[in-house]
Amino acid sequence: MLRKPQNSGVKKLLLLQLSCAFLAQSCAATTPKHESCSPATEVLQVAPNIYVRPGHAAVVFEADEIANLGFIVGDRCVAVIDTGGSVAEGRALDCAIRNMTDRPVCYVINTHVHPDHLLGNAAFVRPGVEFIGHAKLPRALALRGDIYLERASAHEGRELDVSNIVFPERTVAETVELDIGGRILTVQPHDSAHTDHDLSILDSTTNTAFVGDLVFLEHLPVIDGSINGWIDELEQLSAVPLDYVVPGHGPASARWPAATTPTLEYLTGLREKVRAWIAKGGDLASAQANIDAPHAAQWPLVERYHERNVGAAFAELEWED
């Protein structure tokens, strides 16, 4: 497993302190209400009644707790945003929720298809829980489900079966609002960006949004949709006046729109290099062998994902006229 760089914990703490300073409620107020459940994963309160289980940069199926997961507690019920890379991880999150509130979970919202965000879904399959995803999530899950099962089975103790692939019951093609009691969540589907089916979730009560993998921090961005689309989407989103966001990877919360800068710098830098390579007649293999990651030193997992990103960017950009 790959460890985060030493300074990332410090950065995270600073970001959390910053966010706490702006909020009436203390971040330390995570005292469990009910000791009814174990083992519960540790969560951080990043805004009033918004909790995050931070992840650690690693390659899918090579570690646990990779993505940032979260939940928002309303007066009526709880909305869960992403469920982790395994049923065990989903159960530990479920347990943390039960220790925090006696409100039931009513929604599980998946920001996108990737296993580190979605394979905990099975822990929440029960009456009263509705699974929500982008309108294109079912197709992505249908296309990739089998390969996820196969890849997982190559890692001891991570074996999965078809019951682990939980499809959304409700899909979102246009922005919808969910009322969880006393607070309204706005669920927005995005055009092809990190994937072709990213969702973001805004809590207007605290002006905090879960942006899924539209924003990467402390984990190299991974292109699985469209580099052009992703840059466009982030540039548009930057103009939305949010206070804090929960990124898909990195600290539990980060200031907006500063949080978009590293991802945007990597993507625009990469796009420039790949366009130049194509323009001078270079091929895919030479592009992958020669194009370095922009700001490589700041990104964990460059060695695992950058070459793949060059390929994805090349395959898209070679069709530009």
Binding site: L141, R151, D196, D283, A285, G311, W319
Partner: protein
């Protein structure tokens, strides 16, 4: 021979899940002999019978990454070590990915007018597997360049791009030459075909049905009516197939690419090549 490549591909498709399970435990730590089990145990005879094959990099050199993080788009390049002359030339290159369902990714044909039998394209790789390029000369000799690649899941995983965008652009072709065109010398050309190349291996988890295969099966490129490169391709070729190859223009002329897919849809594109440059003509 009874088992033609088509039959073979079909059989492999049926046997695929079992095969993967059988082979999974040895992948990664196998000896060359173990790695070559599928080749020696059947593929070799299915495609080449008892014909002698020389394993060496003297005639062609196969180049591909040792490890591919994106197994759906793995760049492959083959470089010929001899020029194409009327007396001696490479007639056909076979690209075989042992553990892929449908091991034969493609058969690529060259002529003396190709100038060089160099070729670059992209493949899907389904498992840790040997990959072999086998060149057949005009006098019937076979030479094999073999490599091993660590990649998995390329056949059933989508390339990761936007499927809707790919379908909307179906059949669009880009044809161009690279670098300066010098008459009577090998000139590098690139053919890009916008096609999802669906391989029939992506299962719908709800219906448990496979999306039907739909891929480019034949490509032919000619210069002023004379064939310089053609290919019979399988679903091991990545989506949006892209081929780089050489041709020798004796003077100004028209480079034409004709493409047929498994639904018998036909696409074509022409490029006017002159001493001063190139111009892609309107696509039919």
């Amino acid at each position: 021979m009874v088992n033609g490549p088509q039959t073979k591909a079909f059989l492999c498709l049926l046997a695929w899940p079992t095969l993967v399970l059988m082979l999974a435990p040895v992948a990664g730590e196998a000896t060359t002999a173990e790695e070559d089990m599928l080749w020696t145990g059947g593929l070799r005879h299915a495609y080449f019978g008892d014909r002698p094959i020389t394993q060496s990099d003297d005639l062609i050199v196969l180049d591909l990454p040792k490890r591919a993080e994106n197994a759906a788009i793995v760049p492959v390049s083959i470089s010929a070590q001899i020029p194409q002359t009327d007396e001696r030339y490479i007639k056909t290159i076979y690209l075989i990915i042992d553990k892929n369902p449908g091991a034969l990714a493609g058969k690529f044909h060259f002529t003396p007018k190709s100038g060089r039998a160099d070729l670059a394209f992209r493949v899907r790789v389904d498992a840790y597997t040997p990959v072999r390029a086998i060149a057949e000369t005009n006098d019937g000799e076979l030479f094999m360049s073999r490599r091993f690649i660590k990649a998995s899941g390329g056949c059933s995983a989508p390339a990761g791009s936007d499927l809707d965008a790919a379908m909307a652009r179906l059949g669009k072709i880009k044809l161009k030459t690279q670098g300066e065109t010098k008459f009577a010398e090998p000139t590098l050309a690139q053919l890009m075909i916008s096609h999802p190349n669906l391989n029939g291996l992506q299962m719908d988890q709800v219906t448990r049905l496979y999306a039907p295969a739909h891929f480019v099966r034949h490509v032919k490129v000619s210069f002023d009516g004379e064939e310089i490169f053609s290919a019979e391709t399988g679903f091991g070729i990545s989506e949006n197939p892209s081929f780089r190859f050489f041709f020798v223009p004796e003077g100004a002329g028209e480079l034409t690419a004709e493409v047929i897919d498994t639904k018998d849809l036909q696409f074509s594109q022409s490029l006017r090549v002159t001493a001063t440059g190139q111009q892609q003509l309107a696509q039919e």
